[in-house]
Amino acid sequence: MSRQKMMTLSMLAALCVLASLAMHAKAAGQQDRQDQRDRQEGMVVVRDPQTGKMRAPTPEELRALRAKAPPSAAALSGTPPQNKALTRRDGARGVRLGEKNLVYEVVTRSPDGKLGSQCVQGDAAAEDALHRPANAEHKEHSHEAR
């Protein structure tokens, strides 16, 4: 395997780590958890192209990795990151909310072609709802056809 390929694979492995960390952070709701995960980015490693051994990335390599990492859906869509504490000079306290507090509208089509929708909170719940019939989890409240 050429050094260039090894470097590419190393980069990809590191990107996976970054992506994994990003997904993990996405699920968090509290600022302290987010901070903790931000600090965990130091776990990223690269394979040294000269020695073939794993090591911590140089600042230049880390910048290159970050530049190559695909932007998150949040970044693409202009949504905020996770909860972030805010303050104002007048003493007001605030929080910039993250994905967990967004409300998602999900629609599913049943085998008979009918559309059903459900409104759920958080991106994880939205992903879950995509793969369930619209009324399956709320059947005691819904209007079933049979």
Binding site: T79, A92, R96, L97, V103, T108, Q121, G122, K139
Partner: protein, 490 residues
Amino acid sequence: MKPADKPNGHRRLQQAAGAAVAVIALALALAIGAVTSAHAAASIVIVNLNDPGVGFNDPTPATPAGGNPGTTLGQQRLVAFQNAASIWGSTLSSNVTIRIGASFVPLSCTATSAVLGSAGANEIWSDFPNAPRANTWYPSALASKLAGEDVATPGQPHIIARFNSRLGLFPDCLPGSGFYLGLDRNFGDQIDLVTVLLHEFAHGLGFQTFTDDETGQEIMDIPSIWDYYLLNNQTDRTWVESTAAERAQSAVTWRGLSWNGPRVTAAVPQVLAPMSNLAISGDAAGQAAGNYEVGDASFGPPLANPPVSGQLMPVVDQGDGNGLACTPLSARNALAVRGNIALVDRGNCDFVTKAKNVQNAGAIGMVVADNQPGDVAGMSGNDPGIAIPSVRITQANGVSIKASLQRRSRTQSGVMASLGINQNRLAGTDAQGRILMYTPTIYSPGSTVSHYTTEARSNQLMEPSINDDLTHEVRPPRDLTYPLLQDIGW
């Protein structure tokens, strides 16, 4: 989908006004590119976050339709957004312009399901100038209105709204079921974007708690303004007065949470219809006599006064004594139900088929007993040929009523069933007349108490499902969304 209610005739004025403002706003949008605004009692600005060529800037040619004058896909999306913003703008009041950071972006999809969009408050604030309650979270749009100044972080929108740019346009994204971008609700088999936007914007304006539904935990141990009005009707304590564990439990307690705000409660009698009711009486009724809560059907006529009354006669077409009525009734069963109200069991076929079979046999009404434990639920389906009323009762109630039918002749049971309405109780309310909130018994991920109950009739904008009979109205006499926003400070 819930049963459709008859459309109300006098609800177009506000919609038309909103559309007019939207047209003006579109012209402005085309002129300045990125930002449009609707000026009314409150100004709402749609901040276009899309890059050139995509989303709101998609140049794909489109034919003006349904009152939407846009000539590209991007323009029509923008007009629909502006229309929804205009409706809210003409309803709310604020000296601070509300900014909605909006975009059309690729969101999760499959061939049979899709995320339509998401929205919510971008920031929440407490202890801002003139805050009505100390140590309480308010969404930033509302906090700014109450403060009389913009409390949001400079450059930040008050509301975030993202919608699916691929919906209905690609084979892997619910093909054939895209957004209807017209403003006239003639959405057919499409998804009415304006209705979805009105719902999602309401969440962003404050129709949501920021307290975690699943755990009951507050953000930074500070309650939301919502939590002052969310009442556990079994303990008579609001969420503010409850522990985290009590909050979490109440969120999955059937009919366990009510909205205790004065504006909503005052408007409830104007908006909600009486609850449907099954009354059982007669010499042979015994312990089964009484009133029963029922699930409504989306087919056949709605229950009304005077009620449809007759002897209750069971269909028996199974070896265990049950009756499914999935096929045309036998002569014996037809004789039993003719001119009477048929009692059948749920299962094996859809409810419409059962209704059709008992109707064809001469029944004047149908009661369906559930075949599994659970709460009262409705019956969907559509067949304009169904002319008899139908209701659904719980399995437990079915067992009780069937017990009273053991001694009967081929044509008489001595048990009278009356399908009507309960004038003393409105659909979707608790015993004190407060509207119930959405609290599924079985926890489902992301289920949120920031919705009205699905038992409300007529269907409400802020139920957890978008029903196809919704109008674009957000205030009484059609809808209870605005009164709730008033309760929290709008």
